[in-house]
Symmetry: none
Subunit: 259 residues, 2 copies
DNA sequence: TGCTTTTCGTTCAAAAACGATCAAATTCTA
DNA sequence: TAGAATTTGATCGTTTTTGAACGAAAAGCA
């Protein structure tokens, strides 16, 4: 627990601020000032910084957390951990994107983190089958091309045969793909066959295929398979991935980056 | 984080207001004032803002949620006549839809009103190029098929050549189309050529084409034309449409319904 | 219809919050 | 330790928000 009365170091204090906002969703400057025992000027400066990082959105009188519960419930520790890893994975993925590229994002929480990082990148073209990602980017930033098709409620993505109609007409430099599960034997799998179908088409057409998957996804096998590892150029994952993968994947041509 | 007794942030308060209205469908200014513990002036200002955003419709004595699932009470409201007319037009359009049909909705506010009425209709298939409509229907109700293509920011719709890829593969029984302008001489027009292109394809393929347009749209001519009246089967509009239209349109095969 | 009551919109002044600036305090570094 | 760089808190003028006041408009009623 962090003590309330002694002024924390700046980065630490900002992290605390971020957490507080995240829990409450929203907070007033005055309340934050009292809790952290600093001046309002400092709070404002901190919020400014957090806003630049996209962590919060400032409003008159306070701030609103931007990283609340679109996907994961905040309360559970494990999911929280996964969220941090996903954020880091997304940041690493972001660093790979070059100017004026066309990229693909499929559905899933990790790619959604990435989408959020793209808001200011008006030089990019983002092709996606994720309704959430499209919403995230609808008002600013990159050109957005939405793959048509049937909207699958659970994942809020466009899936199925109709998606191929648009996919056949565009080419992306890099495809960033999330997955429900992966393992050496069965490759990449997800729950819905229609979703798998769309992923499969993308994996075959994209210039580079970059898999974004935290280590929790390892060894998981779902119903529908959409690709083998030989289609994948790079896997971005976290440090907890077992050595089995980090050693054998490079041998079959899949680079691995852990963050 | 936020205490009950400390005044909430303005945006937060407005969100709260919106929720309260949404649950109850309708509320009086005085009741809202007491619940939120602010002055009536503030409530009015908030409602004004929410109305601009299309979240609520103000009526004498209070406001009605536009996001409510319940049937809306009939209230008089002269300030937002257009919204009221659009709502009525949408309700009339809704009455034409039969069981298990596939329908198309293009972008625009009138069709969005219609989309909101479809939330419980899980027997329907809704094809649309409107991101807003898709969001509205994403969690419940009909099967949703989103036309792919480039996302046009201003209208939040998918437009352009890529849309034809999906459109070519589906058939809808009825297409409900909004338009920016219509007149006898130039037919139906909208501002963006890409949007016109998508509309044009739909108008040619749909079983029936039903135009939803309040009388303000009459005599307006925009840059890009997408159809003549001979493609239109029915126009649903309001009572203020001039006799010039109501008389001549039936002669060229366009039924007219005023609500 | 005419009258009363409620609600509305507008205006205005007070209060709250903001951004910018600067000096003091703190931390870092040589 | 001295000096530079960073961080902090206080101040001030400006902007935004709020609540109250008042005439106009709408609704209720006889």
């Amino acid at each position: 627990m962090i003590q309330e009365n002694s002024p924390a170091l700046a980065p630490q204090r900002r992290e605390h601020l971020r957490q507080m906002l995240r829990e409450g969703g929203v907070a007033r400057v005055e309340d934050l000032r009292r809790k952290l025992d600093v001046s309002v000027a400092t709070i404002r400066r901190d919020l400014e910084i957090l806003e630049e990082d996209g962590k919060v959105r400032r409003v008159h009188g306070g701030a609103v957390s931007m990283e609340s519960r679109l996907e994961e419930p905040v309360f559970e520790n494990k999911t929280n951990l996964a969220a941090k890893e996903k954020q880091r994975i997304a940041e690493e993925a972001y660093s790979l994107i070059e100017s004026d590229e066309a990229i693909y994002l499929n559905g899933g929480s990790t790619t959604l983190f990435l989408a959020r990082l793209l808001r200011e990148r008006s030089d990019l073209t983002v092709v996606t089958n994720s309704l959430q990602a499209a919403i995230e980017l609808a008002d600013s930033g990159p050109r957005v091309i939405l793959i048509g098709g049937e909207l699958r409620r659970i994942s809020q993505t466009m899936v199925g045969p109709l998606t191929s109609a648009v996919l056949a007409q565009v080419h992306v430099d890099k495809a960033f793909m999330g997955t429900m599960g992966f393992c050496l034997k069965n490759g990449l799998t997800t729950t819905d066959p229609n979703e798998a179908y769309s992923n499969e088409i993308v994996a075959e057409q994209a210039g580079q295929v970059i898999l974004l998957a935290d280590s929790n996804k390892a060894e998981k096998v779902c119903f529908a398979r959409f690709s083998d590892f030989d289609k994948i150029d790079l896997l971005i994952t976290d440090r907890n991935l077992s050595a089995e993968y980090t050693k054998s994947l490079p041998k079959i041509g899949v680079k691995v980056r852990t963050v």
